[in-house]
Amino acid sequence: MESKSSTTGNRDNPNRNLHGSKTMMASHFLRALFRIQQTSTSSSSAGRSRRIRRAAYASMAYSAGTRRAWSRALLRKLRSRARLRFPRRLSRAATPQRRDMDQAQVLRKLVPGGPSMDDCKLLEETADYIRFLTTQVRLMQTVMDSISS
């Protein structure tokens, strides 16, 4: 799946970059939802929920394509069929001084493909990742609203 957005204007027009991806994200996610709905009439709600979550991250990664390190890492993780896990716990044990120095490390754990990035690439990838994440969340909320209405 190729993204329709231009690659040359990546830095200058992040919003335009996102627009084509939004449509792709929506269609991918909705199709996945439909498949899940068709094939899981008897399975548990938790299993379905896991599949939906997986579909959400998959839509993000597919719509971002392979031009981003985070989406490549995410696609790798999805294809290996590994359990999709993201670190969510806050570590409160660290002293303030240590936390300052480790924040970049913490961020690396949160962004897919983080550990192999230097600081600048990390910032860039983080920004892109956040953009796609927020779009995905908004998409899911829209779907929720349209189902419930």
Partner: protein, 130 residues
């Protein structure tokens, strides 16, 4: 010039001290760990390195990142440390991951009550909307 240790540009760690949030974002200075041979002073580019990371690039990245975060505070003093920014970023990403989880659960619950016809209608509606 030979460097005391193997300097791989891809693995370099930056630790920036202060980020001013007044007007256009600019990093007042960047302090590199003392083990690096160059002493990076504000406004100067690293020389003789294949991958140059200039101050302007870092400014751009940081400001881009900051603009994405929910703007919870605009401090009167106008200075935010880089570590604060990173911490906020981490919290924001965690929050978004939690929202994805939560929405997945709710969608799953909703889908249990749906039949296939309303699923198709929902898909068509959502596609038209987005």
């Amino acid at each position: 010039m030979s460097y005391p240790h193997a300097f791989t540009p891809c693995r370099r760690r930056l630790s920036f001290e202060e980020i001013s949030t007044q007007g256009p974002l600019s990093i007042s200075y960047i302090a590199l760990p003392p083990s690096l041979p160059h002493h990076f002073e504000a406004g100067r580019k690293m020389s003789s390195r294949r991958s140059r990371i200039s101050e302007e690039e870092i400014n751009e990245l940081v400001s881009k990142l900051q603009s994405l975060l929910p703007e919870a505070r605009r401090r009167g003093s106008g200075r935010a440390s880089a570590s604060k920014l990173l911490k906020e970023t981490c919290n924001y990403i965690r929050k978004l991951n939690r929202e994805v989880d939560d929405l997945s659960n709710r969608l799953s619950a909703l889908m249990a009550t749906m039949d296939s016809d309303s699923a198709e209608a929902d898909i068509i509606r959502s596609l038209l909307r987005s």
